[in-house]
């Protein structure tokens, strides 16, 4: 049963990722990306990471995709027909490199052994909140600072000169 769920989600995810790679129009690319994000959220659910799945839906599938669509609407794409799709020569050279890298990773993963489990988590969300707000409190605060700096940077970049 787990294998059936995994296979369906993996095929969905890989088809969507292929669409991101090869779709022509940027809006189609964003739609394929949204489909890939939904498949990712389902994969997180099947892995038992419920909070991660919810945050994936909230931040990625809502906020970030809307941001991309907003930027695409501000740019007149009709004038930029020559910048759709992919470079042929780079695809010719990049695809064997990616396939070889995947082969090497697959060999390592198939041959490797997992480390011994260090415990059993029954309530993942409760455990995660406890760890995040005790052991990882300082990185959490630094993450908020990163978001603040990014917000200021985006405002500065988007400002009209003069």
């Amino acid at each position: 049963m787990e294998w059936v769920v995994f296979t369906v989600l993996a095929v969905w995810l890989l088809v969507s990722a292929g669409g991101v790679l090869f779709a022509k129009h940027p809006v189609h690319v964003v739609l394929f990306f949204l489909s890939a994000l939904l498949a990712m959220a389902a994969l997180f659910l099947s892995l038992g990471a419920e909070l991660l799945a919810g945050i994936q839906l909230l931040i990625y599938a809502a906020a970030i995709v809307v941001f991309y669509v907003l930027v695409i609407t501000t740019v007149p794409w009709e004038k930029l027909k020559e910048f759709e799709g992919a470079y042929r020569r780079e695809l010719l050279f990049g695809l064997p490199v990616a396939l070889m890298a995947f082969g090497a990773f697959a060999y390592l993963i198939a041959k490797g052994e997992f480390a011994a489990p260090k415990g059993q988590v029954t309530d993942a969300v409760r455990e995660l909140a406890k760890t995040l707000f005790t052991s990882y409190l300082f990185p959490f605060e630094v993450a908020s600072l990163i978001l603040l700096v990014a917000m200021i940077g985006a405002i500065l970049l988007g400002r009209r000169e003069g």
Partner: protein, 101 residues
């Protein structure tokens, strides 16, 4: 092959698809979307490690990856809009101002 190894293989495949997208796409916006695919592949590997090892640290690092992804989207799309407004183009092959020639 166990199910967890299949999850890890899927995350590697997603990362490499994103990497290929960064290499071959012509448009700056689609290049940014490909980097998001790479970050998603990493998050899948973190969640899988959590399931194997029975901890929660992987999910916490996945949250930090999400934070960095949000910051990257804000700054990256701001850069794309600024480049388009100042120079009037969106193709990655035209951005050669920092090349030495």
């Amino acid at each position: 092959m166990s199910l967890e190894k299949a999850y890890l293989l899927l995350s590697v495949a997603l990362f490499l698809i994103g990497l290929l997208g960064v290499m071959i796409r012509k448009n700056l916006v689609t290049i940014l979307i490909s980097t998001e695919l790479m970050l998603n592949g990493i998050n899948l590997a973190f969640a899988t490690a959590d399931k194997v090892l029975g901890g929660v640290e992987g999910q916490i690092f996945a949250f930090f990856v999400l934070t960095v992804a949000a910051a990257e989207v804000a700054v990256g799309l701001g850069l794309v809009v600024a480049i388009f407004r100042l120079k009037g183009y969106e193709g990655s092959s035209e951005l050669t101002h920092m090349r030495d020639r």
